[in-house]
């Protein structure tokens, strides 16, 4: 029971929308497509749904070739960023509509509508019209419509993007729960790393029409295969700086160097070191922490934590540190980084050495 993309690609008017992509999605999994706007998330979803035809490659559904088959003949449901419901119908009729099209018996429709409404907490709203509901409820109604017909593939294209932050947070918690109950293949497109992490499941990071990595979400987050994946899957953005390995020493310039004893098993040469904002600290956390002299650009306080925007030579970094830190711009500070949190990327941006902490986790 799988959806399999075999070297699928799509060109539109000579421009590449999707580079050849192979991907196998297992039944009963949540799959997140994570990438910035125009990275190909929607294009890939349209190929999965059968709304567009691939230029090359095949799409297999449960082992059967469905390339070129019409959308109507595939068991697909889709939810969009906009809340799309029939405005003239009640919530009940909206949820019932896919079943009515399939010509199911009345009793079955009623049972399924009520079950789905209960799952999405829409039972009290069944008699109301979509436009009388809040944005969150409207999107839940659209979700219910997608789920009710028991489609084997449910595609969600940034479904929470138009909702308030707090509502988004609540629905993010709800969606995995709903999904677990349905057993379908879920594909969920988002631009936000945090959303991918909250949803769990598997994540495919996308960049310029290409899936850069696909695997269990926390794994992709901690073990990115290249700098692009790490960049896409970091918010705040991942920090980078140049370094060179020479013998047992990793040198970062201005006298900062780390011992590579037991880690960083790479050949001598130039590398790009990457690390996430939350691993920078204002305090020396461990004995072998590296000290970087930085100049403050701006600080942002989020309540319990502070974001420090700093410059380190020509690099611009963001650090996420504990507590409320009011630092003046242009102030010189020391930021500490445990070498266990450093990823090394080679000249082509491929991962050369993973971060030690991620291996332990």
């Amino acid at each position: 029971m799988t959806l399999e993309l075999q070297a699928v690609s799509r060109l539109v008017e000579g421009r590449v929308h999707i580079q050849p992509t192979s991907l196998t999605l297992q039944n009963g999994t949540m799959n997140v497509l994570l990438g910035p706007t125009l990275s190909g998330k929607t294009s890939l979803m349209r190929l999965m749904a059968g709304l567009d035809q691939p230029t090359t490659g095949r799409i297999l559904w449960h082992g059967k070739d469905v390339t070129g088959q019409r959308v109507q003949d595939r068991g697909v449901a889709m939810v969009y960023q906009q809340f799309i419901n029939y405005p003239g119908l009640t919530v009940y009729e909206n949820i019932a509509s896919p079943l009515r099209i399939l010509g199911r018996p009345k009793a079955e429709i009623d049972r399924k509508v009520r079950e789905t409404a209960e799952m999405l907490r829409l039972t009290p709203m069944l008699v109301r019209k979509p436009l009388e509901l809040s944005g969150g409820q409207q999107q839940r109604c659209a979700l219910a419509r997608a789920l009710v017909k028991g489609a084997g593939l449910v595609l969600l294209d940034e479904p929470l993007a138009n909702l308030d932050y707090k509502l988004r947070e609540e629905l993010r918690v709800e969606i995995p729960r709903i999904f677990e109950a349905s057993g379908a293949i879920f594909v969920y497109a988002t631009t936000e790393p945090e959303e991918a992490l909250l949803l769990g499941g598997n994540t495919a990071t996308m960049w310029e029409g290409r899936v850069t990595q696909f695997g269990p979400t926390p794994r992709v987050y901690r073990d990115p295969v290249d700098a692009t994946t790490a960049r896409v899957f970091s918010d705040p953005p991942m920090n980078f700086t140049r370094c060179a390995k020479q013998g047992q020493i990793l040198r970062f310039g201005e006298g900062v160097s780390a011992s590579t004893q037991g880690s960083f098993a790479v050949a001598d040469g130039e590398y790009m070191a990457g690390f996430r904002a939350n691993h920078l600290s204002l305090h020396r956390g461990s004995a072998d922490a590296l000290e970087f002299h930085c100049s403050v650009i701006a600080t942002e306080i989020t309540g319990a934590q502070s974001f420090l925007h700093v410059s380190h030579g020509t690099d611009r970094w963001v650090g996420l540190v504990e507590g409320v830190q009011v630092l003046e711009p242009d102030q010189e500070i020391s930021l500490w980084l445990d070498p266990r949190h450093i990823y090394l990327f080679d000249g082509e941006g491929r991962l050369a050495a993973p971060a030690a902490y991620a291996q332990a986790a």
Binding site: Q53, P54, T55, T56, R58, D65, T67, G68, Q69, R70
Partner: protein
Amino acid sequence: MQKIQNNKAWLLVLPVLVLVAFSAVVPLMTVVNYAFNDTFGNNQFFWAGLEWFDEMVHSDRLHGALGRQVLFSAIILAIEVPLGIFVALNMPKQSFWASFCLVVMALPLLIPFNVVGTIWQIFGRTDIGLLGHSLAALGVDYNYTNDPIDAWATVIVMDVWHWTSLVALLCYAGLQSIPQAYYQAAKIDQASRWAVFRYIELPKMKGVLLIAILLRFMDSFMIYTEPFVVTGGGPGNATTFLSIDLVKMAVGQFDLGPAAAFSLMYFLVIMLVSWVFYTVMTNLDKAEAGQ
């Protein structure tokens, strides 16, 4: 790529194709037949080649009608487009008055063409018509049946009355799609009324405006019913536009060959101008979007 083609889908278009064939293609082919043959009735045809076309291209009568037609369309566009924009800009944006204005504006569009002609024919009469009589009472020497200028004025005012609504309604629709934030931003930027029009309203209206111009051009270039009812093409040939002349030639004089050649050229001119319009329009959009 494996693409499944379902040819049965073409069957769905069949009824439309049949209808179009009977209503457009068959009559058109008849016209083509007439244009290249000479006939004296009894379904006897003699091949005439391009003779009728040659005659028509060099016909003073046709040149005169074409000149009047171009002048008429130019005047109509020059009045109706700015006036339509002006009306659209000054229509209420919401509330009861918005709906009220929309209904009133739509009224002239709902009246059959010959009725419009009849209304103005009577309206302009100096003996019983409100307009004609009032003008006469004011001492204006107005008589659309005698004076070519008066006849032109009447026909133009009638067309403006009939069709400005269309331009206004299209522009109004374009204006309604402008988010309120733009006006607010313009206020904050202290933009003048002219700047708001020039930089916000006009760019947003451009698409519908071009459609309005195209529609008005085609309609006015083919105008027949209203001036025919009001002036019958007169006085003399003063308001004999292309289609009126065509009908005179074909139905009045039974010169079927020249009339057919004439109408084919007429048809080609309209196609050509519309195509030019369309191409310019889409290229403008592309040029701006692609910059």
